[in-house]
């Protein structure tokens, strides 16, 4: 089987590269061993402004409204973090403290939204909080299996009866100038969160829950659908097991499911993620990229991998695959001519492209651009 570009990994980076190439009329395939870090994504990309227009338009074409706006994101533990680019249903606050009185609403029996933490954090910033729980008859059947009273299950129910939740909240609401809800709305229908914000009697915000993330799954589903509508081939649940490299050029890969049927490509994009997705793997003595055995930038002294303070930035998060200026992956000191590395497999090695989800987007654009603008190879 032959494609113009073969993409390894179907997370934000792989899908962004795939969509961009399909939009440019290229024939691509994405091979992805299971789902990805978008399922933990809370709706805020990192905070740089670069490529604002391109990113916004990219998401709008996929039916995913986003906004750029300098502000503070309210985190699940009641702290604030600066943000710029977010999904539209993420409320950004211009300054702290955000309000004088807040109403925190949870669903009764939902343990993945920590209302007490949230209240504690907010009260430190001078906001008085009141916590209420919602009991809807539509949610009763979920309780038959309390172990699975999870964000996604609630979101499925809410997709059809969010209006009832809004009506109940209106009754609960007194004089608070802020209403906080768990992020469990709009699993399939991206327009619901916006409608809720508009229907509530005060300014409101959705606060992240324990994974999986409802807006993250929604974003993943919309991007995958967009990719397939554009004619891309998505092989979900398959894993790239080996690659053939000759003279610094990757010619083909094999996968677990297609075993003897090799996938050939002119270009390859490695978007296999960080440690979580097994794009990078740590052994007792080194950090490796398991598939191509690419060169990885990491600290030789293992004691330097971690900091004792759990909440500090951890050095190992900055380790990543080495690339040249154009994101060609480096193996044995030499850049491979047709293999690009994008997304969180780069760790912190390319601060010029931003961090986290922003890094995934911008490196994916850059690799796709390099492919569409370069001449066909021999």
């Amino acid at each position: 089987m032959r494609f113009d570009t073969v993409i390894i990994g179907g997370g934000l980076a792989g899908l962004t590269a795939g969509i961009t190439l399909q939009e440019a009329g290229r024939k691509t395939v994405i091979v992805s061993a299971g789902q990805n870090a978008l399922h933990f994504f809370s709706g805020t990309f990192e905070s740089t402004e670069a490529e604002r227009e391109r990113i916004t338009e990219f998401f709008v074409r996929a039916g995913i409204p986003v906004h750029f706006q300098d502000g503070q994101r309210l985190m699940p533990a009641g702290t604030f973090r600066p943000a710029a680019l977010s999904l539209e249903d993420v409320t950004l606050f211009p300054q702290t403290p955000v309000s004088s009185k807040a109403l925190i609403v949870n669903f009764s029996g939902f343990h993945d939204f920590f209302t007490a933490f949230l209240a504690e954090g907010l009260e430190k910033n001078g906001t008085t909080c009141r916590i209420c729980t919602l009991d809807l008859p539509e949610m009763e059947h979920l309780r038959l299996s309390p172990s699975e009273m999870r964000s996604v299950n609630i979101a499925r129910v809410m997709d059809s009866c969010w209006e009832k939740a809004v009506a109940d909240i209106r009754v609960m609401h007194k004089d608070e100038d802020l209403i906080l809800l768990p992020q469990v709305f709009g699993l399939k229908d991206a327009s619901i969160p916006g409608k809720i914000l508009a229907a509530l009697p005060a300014r409101a915000a959705f606060i992240g829950t324990m994974p999986p993330s409802v807006p993250g799954i929604r974003t993943q589903m919309q991007l995958k659908r967009r990719y397939e509508i554009l004619g891309g081939t998505f092989l979900m649940g398959d894993e790239v097991t080996s690659a053939a490299i000759h003279d610094g050029v990757v010619s083909s890969i094999t996968t677990r499911n297609l075993d003897t049927s090799r996938i050939f490509g002119e270009y390859f994009i490695l978007a296999s993620g960080g440690y979580f997705s097994k794009g990078l793997a740590a052994t007792p003595v080194q950090v490796v990229e398991p598939l191509f055995r690419l060169d990885v930038a990491f600290e030789e002294d293992r004691n330097g991998w971690y900091r004792q303070d759990f909440f500090a930035d951890q050095p190992y998060m900055d380790f990543g695959v080495k690339t040249d200026a154009d994101l060609h992956a480096v193996k044995d000191g030499q850049p491979l001519k047709n293999l690009f590395a994008v997304g969180s497999i780069l760790g912190g090695t390319r601060p010029d492209f931003g961090s986290a989800a922003g890094l995934a987007l911008r490196t994916a654009f850059a690799a796709a651009d390099a492919i569409t603008t370069s001449k066909p190879q021999e």
Binding site: G34, Q35, R150, L235, L258, S261
Partner: protein, 404 residues
């Protein structure tokens, strides 16, 4: 041997990192709250069951064995295998008569075929359906697959001589459905393979792959079928034959469920068994053969990927073949279980859940309004035809009708 090898469990439940992604994609969780979901039923429950079988939960029977949890798991946990293996190991309840009947596709077919016109008439009648519903709890909404009076095996035997004339040969594992219910699919396959210059022969006495027996708790019978089939397949492999199939579920069962669930060693035959769409795609790709299509063929086709084909990862071969036909407008339907899951949806207690699972798919078909649906699975076909009113054709049959 490393420490990891000592501690590894059968289906690697300890690799689970508790992300609940599997539960988010399980089709049963949203429609049946009594089902604990793949994470709880699989890796979490396994931990408890290993301590004490008391923790085995009967609700595991609600699992469709669709394998969607495994397809999405980022850690490669064999979630559905854990669940099915637990049912085999701990469930001591005897399968009901109804379940034995539904599972015995081979047996029912052998019995019913000589009387096909009568049986078809009977199972189609409202009164018979009401009786089945009341006595056996087979849901009255279901249409039984028609039994064909002339089996595929007999037909191919009659054409054996002309098939033998082809220089290149494959063996065909046709499965119960082609033999008893829909011989035309087998004939379509022969037509397409012949056009590629390949002759088709039968295996030396295949049996039902046993998928329905596995899901209905008839493990001993399923294991006997598996052992038999592996030995029959081995004979073909020894002759240097590739074995092609048209059912994605039979293929998946023989390749993966035999070793994983029934512990039947299929290493000698596993790689020789391929879906015909993959075989044909590869023949065309290698340039070994070409197909000529009609110029006046036009069809707007919506393609549904069956769960087990998605798990096999071979849906792209069917898709690419259909896209190859000039005059085809190809639409890929979203990945969504149709809800039938073999015999699951035939059971009265599952009917509503089954239809609710498939609803997004049915709605999408209606919105797309294709000329017909394409799908590689026989039970998806029954479900989609009953629930949408659109005809469902196998990709091989579409190739056959589009050939010049």
């Amino acid at each position: 041997m490393t420490l990891q090898e000592y501690t590894a469990s059968a289906h690697n439940f300890e690799e689970c990192m508790k992300c609940t992604i599997c539960t988010a994609y399980c089709p049963v969780v949203p429609v049946n709250p009594r089902y604990p979901g793949p994470k709880q039923a699989g890796p979490d429950g396994e931990r408890l069951r290993l301590k004490d079988p008391y923790f085995f939960n009967k609700a595991l029977k609600y699992c469709l064995n669709c394998k969607r949890c495994e397809v999405v798991c980022p850690s490669g946990v064999k979630v559905a295998d854990i669940i099915q293996a637990a049912r085999i190991k701990y469930d001591r309840s005897k399968p009901k008569i109804r379940d034995r009947m539904l599972a015995g596709t081979d047996f029912m077919g052998t019995l019913a075929r000589p009387f096909a016109p009568i049986v078809n008439g009977m199972t189609g009648l409202g009164a018979t359906k009401a009786v089945l519903d009341a006595t056996l709890a087979i849901d009255r909404h279901r249409t039984f697959p028609k039994y064909s009076a002339h089996g595929f095996e007999g037909w191919l035997k009659r054409h054996a001589r002309e098939q033998a004339k082809f220089e290149r040969q494959v063996a065909y594992f046709h499965g119960c459905y082609v033999n008893y219910n829909f011989p035309q699919l087998g004939k379509d396959l022969v037509k397409v393979l012949n056009a590629l210059g390949v002759g088709v022969q039968l295996l030396e006495g295949e049996k039902c792959c046993g998928v329905a027996m596995i899901s209905n708790g008839m493990t001993r019978e399923a294991t006997r079928h598996a052992q038999h089939n592996v030995s029959v397949l081995q004979k073909a492999v020894d002759k240097g034959l590739t074995v092609v199939t048209t059912s994605s579920t039979c293929t998946f069962t023989i390749r993966d469920e035999y070793p994983e669930l029934l512990k039947v060693d299929n290493a000698g035959v596993r790689d020789a068994l391929v879906l015909a769409t993959r075989y044909i795609y590869q023949a065309l790709e290698s340039g070994a053969a070409t197909l000529r299509f009609r110029e006046d063929y036009h069809a707007r086709i919506a393609y549904h990927t069956p769960c087990h084909l998605e798990k096999l990862g071979w849906g792209l071969f069917s898709q690419e073949l259909l896209k190859m036909i000039p005059g085809v407008e190809f639409i890929l339907l979203d990945s969504n279980c149709c809800g039938i899951a073999g015999t699951y949806g035939f059971k009265k207690e599952n009917y509503e859940a089954s239809q609710a699972i498939g609803k997004p798919l049915f709605d999408q078909v209606e919105a797309v309004n294709p000329d017909f649906i394409a799908c590689d699975c026989e039970t998806c076909k029954w479900q989609l035809e009953m629930s949408t009113g659109y005809t469902v054709k196998h990709p091989i049959s579409i190739l056959a009708e589009a050939l010049a």
